[in-house]
């Protein structure tokens, strides 16, 4: 009995101590440990007279103090980041730059954002990051006024040199798109040439072509049913914009969850196009079960003729394509005759933390990297496109990227606005779109589901 009592007391005390330690001490501990990420910080300050000074910034005051950059390292690597940060450091030798970077950086920095001591500038990319959520969480600085007149270090207006304009959240700008690419429909030029097929330039042509491909015993159109982002970006969104008279505003309204927009006439027309493509048996029957690797493999094996995908496709499947495979790309297949191609862009963006300790340096850094030179550097280091218009012909960017760039600079292509959806609405839209593509639900039911999700998210 005695033993029990004593033990009981000891254990209770121990529990209290532990809980107290966890609850109280957490803050300081996490703050201290938040930044210990694989980073190579603080390039040694160059001597002042060695720093290249261009006319534009010679008048600028030298920046100083601490400056922290958070960037996700994924498919694009970190070579470009290290390079531009070293250049920035040379320009501002008194600035103490800290890089918090890595493939898991979003999770590693999360405690810092939660506790209100975020880095100064952040590149938002990778799993677990969503700019709309960061804005809803009130974590990003409103850049609307600043970006309207900001110039880069070469003296050009940043908005003028960008391919895709910044996303709008309720009419405000919080983040600046750094990476640019677009969805589109890919096909194999070699296969098309062999069969005498032409890449479709209108929805009518798409249907006629699909009929022919189907007759030849190949699936006309395959997509990644497990991740419906692809069919949304490559088929449905462009179809909606085409149906809206080539006006991208409707996508913006969808992003802002305006009441009724998901049941509006252009959306219904686009949904009917998807339902029609599905009911005619042009969409590969297996698509709902496929993830991106599956669907892309089938496309490369020529078991399916067309696939909605992003510009990264070529480099992602570099080692798997047959030797005679030739990537062809059209931005969209859903426009009617006389309509423009609609390129649905995807981006990864830069933003300044609302609680940044050095917002001046953060803005200066953005001005420093949105230049043609940095853009060329990006294309060469990553093979992808940065969101600054630049002539790529002489660069080492991938073929698909170069082809796509031609579309973007053509008058016959509309680059849609970049829209990031509310995560709840997006999930419902994904589920409903796959269900519609196999004709399990009607376009009206699609609209009903998504409108309901939007109504709930608006609250």
């Amino acid at each position: 009995m005695e033993i029990r009592k004593t033990l009981g007391t000891v254990l209770t005390l121990a529990l209290i101590l532990v809980l107290a330690a966890c609850g109280g001490g957490g803050k300081e501990k996490q703050t201290a440990s938040g930044g210990d990420t694989p980073s190579s910080s603080n390039a040694s300050p160059a001597s002042p007279d060695a720093s290249p000074v261009t006319p534009a910034e010679s008048s600028d005051a030298q920046l100083e103090g601490d400056f922290e950059i958070q960037y996700f390292v994924g498919g694009y690597g970190d070579a470009w980041w290290k390079d531009v940060i070293a250049q920035f450091q040379e320009l501002h030798p008194n600035l103490k730059i800290k890089q918090s970077a890595g493939p898991k950086i979003n999770e590693q920095m999360k405690p810092r954002w939660i506790q209100g001591s975020p880095p100064d500038v952040v590149y938002i990319d990778g799993a677990g990051s969503n700019p709309r959520q960061m804005i809803e969480d009130d974590q990003l600085l409103d850049l609307s006024d600043w970006i309207g007149q900001a110039t880069n270090v070469d003296g050009e207006k940043i908005l003028d040199v960008m391919i895709a304009q910044p996303e709008q959240y309720g009419g405000k700008t919080y983040n600046i798109p750094l990476v640019f690419g677009s969805y589109g429909t890919f096909y194999d030029k070699a296969l098309f040439a062999k069969n005498g097929w032409e890449a479709p330039s209108t929805y009518e042509e798409f249907l006629t072509l699909s009929e022919k491909i189907k007759a030849a015993g190949i699936s006309p159109y395959i997509h990644t049913g497990v991740y419906p982002d692809y069919i949304l970006g490559g088929f449905l969104y462009p179809a909606i914009i085409s149906a809206n008279g080539d006006d991208g505003q409707i996508l913006q309204d969808m992003g802002d969850m305006k009441e009724g927009v998901f049941a509006s006439e252009p959306v219904m027309k686009a949904l009917n196009q998807l339902a029609e493509t599905g009911s005619k048996g042009f969409i590969d029957q297996g698509a709902p079960a496929l993830n991106h690797t599956d669907s892309q493999m089938l496309f490369l094996q020529r078991k399916a003729a067309m696939i909605p995908n992003g510009l990264w496709l070529e480099s992602e499947m570099k080692n798997d394509a047959p030797a005679d495979f030739e990537y062809g790309f059209v931005p969209s297949v859903t426009q009617s005759a006389g309509g423009k191609y609609v390129a649905l862009p995807y981006t990864s963006t830069m933003a300044v933390a609302k609680k940044a300790k050095n917002p001046e340096a953060a803005k200066a850094f953005i001005q420093f990297i949105f230049t043609k030179q940095a853009s060329l550097n990006w294309a060469e280091k990553t093979g992808a496109l940065m969101n600054v218009k630049v002539d790529l012909e002489s660069s080492s960017a991938g073929e698909t990227a170069k082809n796509a760039m031609k579309y973007y600079s053509s008058d016959n292509t509309l680059v849609a606005p970049v829209v990031v959806f509310n995560a709840d609405v997006f999930k419902v839209m994904c589920d409903a779109t796959v269900a519609l593509s196999v004709n399990k639900i009607t376009p009206e039911q699609w609209a009903e589901r998504v409108e309901a999700a939007a109504a709930k998210a608006r609250k």
Binding site: E2, I3, T6, L7, V10, L11, A14, L15, V18, L19, C22, K110, W113, I114, Q115, G116, G128, N130, Q133, M134, E136, D137, D138, Q139, G225, V226, Y227, D284, Q285, G286, A287, P288, A289, L290, N291, D294, M297, L298, Q301, K303, A423, D424, K427, D431, A432, V434, A435, V438, K440
Partner: protein, 297 residues
């Protein structure tokens, strides 16, 4: 120092550290999770809004939650029946039926247990692949037209298609457990039974099963608990909960809500629901499986 104090200190020296670890890694997270479930929190924001039991009210109204609970129990039932039946059958086969190559089977059945669950998921995705998968190619041999059924992409077949690999991957451990238990039964019992003229079937029902009942019970409980808490890995690997949420289980829905749709409070509430469901199920099972323990002396 008195003897008694020494004794108390001795006992405390063993219990306190374990209890501390238990508190830090089990009690505290559970309590914290339950606490978060009372808030509206995105999981990344500085601000948490206290909403009382709203998350739980929302859960009751959420049709996907009910679907997920149904799917959870479908997997629990399917896996328990499938694994226990097959594991028992195989265990009896390699120990009592004197088949050839028993040691080969022992290794063969255990192999899925040492393969990472991720590999199993990817492997079976290939088996089910609609155009180049093994299953459809195999079925096409017997059909007039090539079969290209998207097993994981149709709502009617997707959950069943997750069940088979789960059973396949689960058998090995319980098989070994039962083999060990059967080998522990004294041979004299079987000899006596044989002299009395009992056939294999009779021997199984009156000797083997009663004497390995404890292990069967442990197996059932263990399968139920690991399925309720762990089947989401298989779901995420094979279907991501789709198509159209038809294969969602509570665990995968928790992940979806917490980390992809930024409702950490709601996800924490789902975690509490999983905890309650698991506890209740285990309690009910304990009662159902109660049976006089038979011991040989």
């Amino acid at each position: 120092m008195s003897r008694q104090l020494q004794r108390k200190l001795f006992i405390a020296a063993f219990l306190v550290p374990t209890f501390l670890f238990f508190s830090v890694f089990v009690l505290y997270p559970v309590a914290k999770g339950a606490h978060i479930s009372l808030f509206d929190w995105s999981g990344s924001s500085e601000h948490m809004t206290y909403v009382g039991l709203d998350n739980f009210k929302e859960i009751v109204r959420d049709p996907i939650v009910w679907k997920a609970i149904g799917n959870d129990y479908f997997l629990v039932l399917g896996k328990t029946i499938g694994i226990v039946l097959l594991a028992t059958f195989f265990a009896v086969a390699v120990t009592r039926l004197r088949i050839r190559g028993a040691s080969f089977f022992r290794i063969a059945f255990f192999i899925p247990n040492i393969i990472s669950i991720v590999v199993i998921g990817v492997l079976w995705r290939f088996v089910y692949n609609p155009s180049i998968g093994f299953l459809n190619s195999f079925l096409s041999l017997f059909a007039a037209e090539p079969v290209n059924r998207p097993w994981l992409g149709e709502e009617g077949t997707a959950l069943w298609s997750i069940l088979w690999p789960s059973i396949w991957a689960g058998i090995g451990f319980y098989f070994l457990l039962l083999v060990a238990a059967i080998m522990g039964i004294p041979a004299s019992l079987y000899e006596a039974a044989e002299i009395d003229g009992a056939k294999q079937g009779r021997q199984f029902w009156t000797i083997t099963l009663p004497l390995v009942w404890e292990q069967v019970k442990v197996s059932v409980l263990h399968i139920v608990m690991t399925t309720l808490n762990g089947s989401f890995v298989m779901v995420l690997l094979m279907t991501e909960g789709g198509p159209d949420n038809s294969t969602q289980v509570l665990g995968s829905y928790l992940y979806q809500m917490g980390f992809r749709q930024f409702h950490m409070g709601y996800a924490a509430a789902l975690g509490v629901v999983i905890l309650i469901v698991s506890l209740l199920t285990t309690l009910v099972l304990q009662r159902l499986l109660r049976r006089d323990t038979v011991e040989y002396s």
